[in-house]
Symmetry: C2
Subunit: 360 residues, 2 copies
């Protein structure tokens, strides 16, 4: 079959464009990693990603400085900064109160003071102030989730030549992203862990598995396609390239690496039989995301409409989550994970990156 040769040339071209040694992108995982993981992947020849949605401007500046320092002066290794592009929701007090009422019995059970303030992750979309910072920092790669920034903002971000990536969950989304001028499309198959990246339709039945999404996007688009979802080892990478992908994006497999900041309860779940059963849930943030099924998902129903819109659902959960985690329980935590946790290994991220690329 000639497919293999073709794919190798696709991935080689993509690597050349980005200055990447390996066709491996580490998926940005807000809440489970920072600079350390991204840096380890970059230094192994992959594309490390820094999730920025929960960092303020000062933290972003500091993180990029740390990344650049870790890469070494004059390094040409690329890195990726990831941002969300959701429309901020209108706060709705009645809905928030209803959500708190749903959670009240759990707070009572754990003896948590409902009025206690626990900092909840504030997920902000990219904005003009961020663009101003990025214009100064000039990261080589920017990836987006939930679509793209509005056109004027996107044009500004493109002005210094950053490579722009965004996720598609359907063919329509892939075509839309290409029309907006992205440099490559991440095909986020339904197997992927964490937040679904959809932005044109909320109908989850439209979203395709990796094996169906990748080849159809490859056929439909002119830009390179990056496969994501269910890729856990070198065989998975080889299979994705055989489907026509130019590179892969891997998330879950990195969650047990020492450089990740994955919580103890999350690590325990990933390493257990529980990781065999994930599902999409909107309980933890208000948007569908794939995680390991836990008590809250089982008892409330993973897609329960009572959870306020993204990202407001998380605030009321924060004290509950903190109290449970302090007792070693992940009953109320988002245990993000894709459908294939078999690649999760507690090894250095650089070693994992090279193993994914078939080197050892």
């Amino acid at each position: 079959m000639s497919a293999g040769l073709l794919d190798l040339s696709r991935s080689s071209r993509f690597q050349q464009t980005l200055g990447l040694e390996l066709p491996i992108i580490q998926a940005p995982m807000a809440g489970s990693q920072g600079v350390a993981l991204a840096l380890a992947v970059c230094n192994a020849g992959g594309l490390g990603s820094l999730p920025c949605a929960m960092l303020n401007l000062a933290q972003q500046r500091e993180a990029v400085a740390a990344l650049r320092a870790g890469l070494g002066a004059g390094s040409r290794r690329p890195f990726n900064l990831n941002y969300f592009c959701h429309l901020p929701p209108t706060p709705d007090e009645a809905r928030d109160a209803a959500w708190r009422a749903v959670l009240a019995p759990y707070l009572a059970e754990l003896g948590v003071d409902a009025s206690a303030s626990v900092p909840a992750p504030a997920r902000a979309p990219i904005d003009a102030a961020t663009a101003e910072l990025l214009d100064e920092l000039r990261p080589p790669v920017l990836s987006f989730h939930f679509g793209l920034p509005e056109p004027a903002l996107l044009a500004r971000l493109r002005s210094w030549g950053a490579t722009i990536l965004s996720s598609a969950t359907t063919l329509d989304e892939g075509r839309w992203l290409q029309a907006q001028g992205v440099d490559a499309v991440i095909a986020q198959g339904l197997e992927a862990g964490g937040h679904r990246g959809h932005f044109l339709s909320d109908d989850l039945s439209r979203q395709l598995g990796t094996f169906a999404l990748v080849p159809q996007l490859v056929k439909a688009l002119d830009v390179p396609v990056i496969a994501a979802g269910g890729i856990a080892d070198a065989a998975g990478v080889a299979a994705a390239l055989a489907l026509g992908a130019s590179a892969v994006q891997v998330g879950s497999a990195y969650l047990l690496c020492p450089e990740a900041s994955t919580s103890a309860v999350h690590r325990a779940a990933l390493a257990s039989e529980a990781a065999a059963h994930t599902t999409l849930t909107r309980l933890f943030s208000g948007r569908p995301a794939r995680g390991i099924v836990n008590r809250l998902m089982t008892e409330l129903g993973a897609m329960n409409a009572a959870a306020p819109d993204f990202p407001l659902a998380s605030a009321a959960l924060a004290p509950l989550r903190a109290a449970a985690e302090a007792r070693g329980s992940g009953d109320f935590s988002p245990l993000w994970c894709g459908q294939n946790a078999s690649g999760c290994r507690a090894v250095p991220a650089g070693e994992l990156t090279r193993a994914l690329a078939g080197l050892s």
Copy 2:
């Protein structure tokens, strides 16, 4: 990467065991194919499959005779007979009446006499009488859906050395099938068209996409794994083998072949933009199956609980479907299709089989 060599040896071993030239199995598709399609695939070097769940014993005998005649005297090419293993439901008149009431407005709209009797497909599970016939016919391969026949019946079917295959939608199902002694497990990824083969749990959230299911089953099992779901062309076959599969099972891609008996409305839908949106529905049979979204699914909700248990839901739909199809409408027909219809081509099935294997 050494993965490629390993996979080639896996598929070669599987082909040798079955006496197959190519690692391609044509998925049995009851209602859309008979002997002609299976024969064309067998004669091209793949494994053709004959769906038997809707055939009575005389029809099965006749079909096998036709297959053998078509293969030629003394042919060693294998073929596969496929059977269902569901527990027949208890008829429930009240539920059936409620279902007919749900459908009544559509019957009125199309001017169909609700009391008119239209033959509906009777899907029967394999039983002792079938085993007696098979003991005489001795087909080389038997595949099952919805689990396996009960142990005594299975032992009888194995007595002449038939290769036994069945579908798994989860790791648990794969392990269970191996423990029952199957010769290979079909990993039915969530992308696959037609009926989901699950039998240990009705929880659809437990079912995995092809990219997650295949490699995990390959790791967990000793028997060969056959990948199914989303595989539409030679690149898909190469990718499935890279994931560790020993062969692939392809369904949707064959539905436009002249040898298939796919209805005109079904062919039109497969060749249209509509094929981009499939979902799981229980409306047409009572069990979840993937098909192209049509009017009935949109208006009633694809998983509407009003449809009686498998296979009873289909009877009340039969006159509606017949009347609509006579007018060229697939509004009330099951338009089975996987998530990747990009491989559907109106070419002879032998040509398609060779193309899937990377020959042309």
